[in-house]
Symmetry: C2
Subunit: 193 residues, 2 copies
DNA sequence: CTCTTTCTGTACCTATCGGTACATAATATT
DNA sequence: AATATTATGTACCGATAGGTACAGAAAGAG
């Protein structure tokens, strides 16, 4: 047909995602993006439409990636409690192996754009709902297997874990001193004993 | 000596605080500020120095105001547990009587500027530390009065409450459906039973 | 090999950003 | 009342924002 793309669209999107993750939407310029994506300005517009569309794509990609990571974390291993503990600890140590200062792109977006951009709020709400679902399923499995007490309300515990995860993520963004919030994990997990 | 200010500096600062609270730092323009502060551009620079300095002043003012509000909430009333419950409920209903979509300016700032602006991170860290202190003191009072069990670790409970408050505030920003997180409060408060 | 189609790179567009110069208006002091 | 001093309002500054026009380069189809 014609000249093919000289860059990998998926790689470029991942790079864009990282920039938005680190700097936020407003503080990220097109120049920041093209530099990290290693493409030229018009290529960005041709491939992704514009800053807003690119951000939407990056946010969706992040959401998928993060939820897959959570599912993997909570599904693996025999102990539900150990898995939950490890996941929450991961938020403090740096989500997905990244810097804890970056937090979670979805959480960051809830704060920066949630109240003013319904399109993005819908994505982050969906993210939070699915995250809570994954927690609920994990707790249900724990209850079924007998590891966790039967009196637990899995949906309720899941909401608590979701709020806690968000709180931990935000709390680490401006103060990365782990010891400050690390004991919180253990205390929260007494709720499932 | 000379011509006096035609506006009240405190009022103007409060107006600026509200704009930053609603829109965030980056998304707020000088025009947005002067419009809501009812002053002219050069007056803003003469009185506050610039956008960054104005934001710092607004952030400090918010921190003071918010901590005073928390202190009042947690100090009043006979029951520590009821006070904590009311405070957390207030986050969901709208902090300080405002819209819950705005969340808390300090929390918003942790997310938007925390990792990149040490000057502001210092202010928000101080805020969080003092908030946690107020929680700890409240729990200590509850323990001393016999309302709460003596086995509690007040500092630990305070950290949990602080993380929970942040999580609730953020969670409400992109989804103001109260019923989604309301039960979380009750469940968290079982930790002090 | 030629032509058509798509992508790349440079250069540029307008709008808006944070910040300021300057003339004018208003007050406290003398 | 005259003057010195500060605030106000308009108009503007350079820099940068997001976005695009256009010419040249590269690859498929014939």
């Amino acid at each position: 047909m014609a000249r093919p793309r000289e860059f990998d669209e998926r790689e470029a999107l991942t790079a864009a995602m990282q920039v938005f993750w680190e700097k936020g939407y407003e503080a990220t310029s097109i120049g920041d993006l093209t530099a990290r994506m290693n493409i030229q300005r018009p290529s960005l517009y041709a491939a992704f439409g514009g800053k807003e569309e690119l951000f939407e794509a990056a946010l969706r990609a992040y959401s998928q990636m993060s939820l897959a990571y959570v599912e993997r974390m909570l599904g693996s291993g025999e102990s539900t409690k150990a898995a939950l503990q490890a996941f929450l600890q991961g938020i403090i140590d740096g989500p997905g192996g990244g810097n804890p200062s970056y937090g979670c792109l979805c959480v960051n977006t809830m704060v920066e754009l949630g109240p003013h951009e319904p399109k993005f709020a819908a994505i982050t709400n969906d993210y939070q709902a699915k995250l809570t679902d994954l927690f609920r399923e994990a707790v249900e499995r724990g209850v079924r297997s007998g590891e966790l007490p039967a009196r637990l309300n899995p949906a309720l515990i899941a909401s608590v874990l979701s709020v806690t995860a968000i709180g931990l993520s935000v709390s680490m963004k401006s103060n990365t001193e782990r010891s400050r919030v690390e004991p919180v994990i253990k205390e929260i997990l007494t709720l499932i004993e």
